[in-house]
Amino acid sequence: MKKVIVLISLGILGFYLIDIFLGIGFGVQHFTAGVKDLYLSNSKDTLKVSNVVTAIVVNFRGFDTLGEVTVLFLASTALGGILYKKRHHVGERSVLFPASRVVMSGAKLLFPSIVLLGAYVFIHGHLSPGGGFQGGTIIATGFLLMLLTYRNYSVSHNRLVYFESLAGILFVSIGLVGYFSKGSFLENVLPVGNMNELFSGGVIGIIYIAVGFKVAAELTGIIYTVLHEKD
């Protein structure tokens, strides 16, 4: 009965959705006076940022990103609260099975390069695909690898908090510096440099580095919390 209702309603919903989006069309631009071109041109001319997505994420719509970082922060906070137990850090492991020596040494070998890759990704966020989120996630997967491989690998909770907080403070502070010096929150205060160079885009690079650290710390924290949730 329930399934029938669900199927019928999903059918109708699907019909409407398909109807809408086929009407919208694929691969064509529908609006004439949208903000797309403004973003593209401003990204190139004003900010000198190659990766327009980065320019949007960090600068044009940097406020969204601040919110997004906050969402992750909140998720890790809420998660810690949800899974909170008094005996929290008493070495409980939930590794699937002990890793073999090959895996262990492989992981040890891979870990620095993963972290390096992540750092590369977020440092070059404004030049190439990738950025703080991607880089941070990659670093977090590095930690994940270590956590899964080594039974006793532990990440200092306090260190995570430091990274997380300092990165967040850095982000907001850059925004506030923009607010106090230029009159607008998150406004670029540094020289924008030249296109396609590492030091271009003003504060974008710094913010993305902060985001990268923050995301890495938060995701590692989330994984750590969930992983050690075993009773």
Partner: protein, 494 residues
């Protein structure tokens, strides 16, 4: 200008990131800093309100990009009013719960206050932002802090409530994204004012369908009828003050969002009728369900949902009087329902299931709390001379001016039911004998101050409604003046 609207978001976020650090050094800072931040937000909003009254709407651009490129925050009489209300309530909730969580470990208590602060911040962000995607981000902030706060008590069934909330919230956010994308694909912009200006260009069918998705998405947070299954559970299982925060802050933000959609973004006249229909169904269902509750907080929750339905009805009337009534009702509801949640959670403090029967005879043991609960109950029923009466009169007058006779009759009949279940509780407080041996918990000083200040507001507004009617008038005029909003945002001379 004394401050800027962006500080409403920047300062709490900064504080949220700082708190874990300071918490390592000085444990009490995790309680104190959120309070300071909330107080700061409240005073900021008051000072900005003063500025707005003199100089008109403040439009704050972010990252130096004027709309429609950048995100902007709009602090107008309308949004300013809601901001002031929310930050005030946020501060009161903090004040009330300052000692409430003393017995809890350090880490959960840190999380509690941090999440509370970000809940308020997210709600304020929803109200202030002038960008729909940014609104989505803030809605998510509010939702996730809501999930965290709901599941605060690990021993209760709070995880169940939080999961239901999350389930609905996740579906809602999906459809919100779809609606945003439909609009973006047609108009190429995400700025509310820009959308509002270009809306006539949009295909009618897509306009309708995107609004439908918006209503579904925002309706979940606004607790309209078929989407509010999560709400009573959350109100019941969340810590007492959080129920007040939901009723007073989160729902207000969601209602704001839906109102902004219908009044500013879209140009449908039929949407107002939809507001009335949805509001009426919500009102009827919630109030009738509340009649048969046996748990106090659940009853309050349904009552809150019902009141929100009434607010939707008032917004659906669509005239200036209607908006005035709706805003008045929102104000009253925020204050009164918080008072009821605060005093109610002390009346059933040490009880596990918090049944209504646990309030029996509390009038003798907790006289002040009981009187405050009674004042709240009378006010929310709409008995003069308490604050609730004026809003009820305003909404009925607005409806009568539009010749909605049946609507008036239905509202009044349902109001009788509301009176019945509140009075049943009041009767129990004073005229039943207490059966349990357990000693009722006396409210701590900070909680008492919070409750009494709310009670005083209820009385003062009841006797002297002119105190806020000017603000409400300006806010209502501001909401209805769509052209002015567009002009303010798009022709920004900064």
């Amino acid at each position: 200008m004394v401050g800027s609207p962006v500080l409403f978001v920047a300062i709490p976020l900064l504080a949220a990131f700082i708190i874990p650090l300071t918490g390592m050094m000085w444990k009490n800072s995790v309680r104190v800093i959120p309070g300071l931040v909330l107080a700061f937000m409240f005073f900021l909003s008051i000072s900005l309100m003063g500025y707005v009254n003199e100089h008109g709407t403040i439009v704050e651009v972010l990252a130096g990009w004027k709309p429609p490129i950048g995100i902007n925050l709009v602090f107008s009489p309308f949004t300013g009013f809601l901001t002031t209300l929310m930050t005030f309530l946020g501060f009161i909730v903090w004040l009330y719960s300052y000692k409430f969580k003393r017995n809890v470990d350090f880490e959960p208590s840190m999380k509690y206050f941090m999440l509370l602060m970000l809940l308020v911040t997210g709600s304020v962000g929803i109200v202030l932002t002038g960008d729909i995607f940014n609104m989505f981000v803030f809605i998510e902030i509010v939702s996730i802090s809501g999930y965290g706060l709901t599941s605060f008590y690990t021993r209760r069934d709070s995880a169940e409530a939080a999961f239901k909330f999350l389930f609905m919230g996740a579906i809602a956010s999906t459809f919100l994204l779809i609606a945003i994308m439909i609009i973006y694909s047609q108009l190429g912009t995400l700025n509310i004012a820009d959308i509002a200006e270009k809306m006539p260009m949009m295909d009618h069918k897509l306009k309708v369908l995107s609004l439908v998705f918006f209503i579904l998405a925002i309706g979940v947070e606004a607790e309209i009828f078929p989407l509010n299954g999560w709400a009573p559970d959350v109100y019941t299982e969340a810590p007492g003050p959080i129920g007040a925060a939901f009723a007073g802050i989160v729902v207000k933000a969601a209602i704001y969002a839906s109102v902004r959609l219908v009044y500013t973004m879209y140009d449908f006249s039929g949407a107002f009728d939809l507001f009335i229909i949805i509001g009426l169904i919500t009102f009827i269902m919630a109030e009738t369900t509340a009649l048969r509750q046996d748990r106090l907080k659940r009853m309050l929750a349904y009552s809150s949902i019902g009141q929100m339905g009434l607010v939707m009805i008032a917004f659906g009337i669509g005239t200036k009087e209607g908006v005035y009534a709706a805003l008045f009702l929102m104000f009253n509801h925020a204050i009164i329902k918080s008072l009821l949640f605060f005093s109610g959670s002390y009346l059933v403090f040490n009880k596990k299931n918090k049944y209504i029967k646990h309030v029996n005879g509390m009038g003798k043991y907790l006289p002040i709390t009981s009187v405050l609960f009674t004042i709240g109950a009378f006010a929310i029923i709409g008995l003069p001379p308490f604050a609730g009466f004026w809003s009820k009169l305003a909404i009925l007058t607005a409806a009568a001016d539009n010749k909605m006779v049946v609507l008036i009759a239905v509202i009044l009949i349902i109001s009788i039911l509301e009176a019945v279940y509140y009075l049943r509780v009041v009767n129990r407080i004073y005229f039943y004998d207490k059966k349990e041996k357990t000693e009722p918990k006396k409210p701590s000083l900070n909680a008492l101050v919070a409750m009494i200040s709310l009670g005083v507001i209820v009385l003062v507004i009841g006797f002297y409604p002119d105190l806020i009617s000017g603000i409400l008038d300006r806010a209502a005029a501001d909401l209805l003046d769509k052209g002015n909003y567009i002009k303010d945002v798009l022709t920004l001379n900064k």
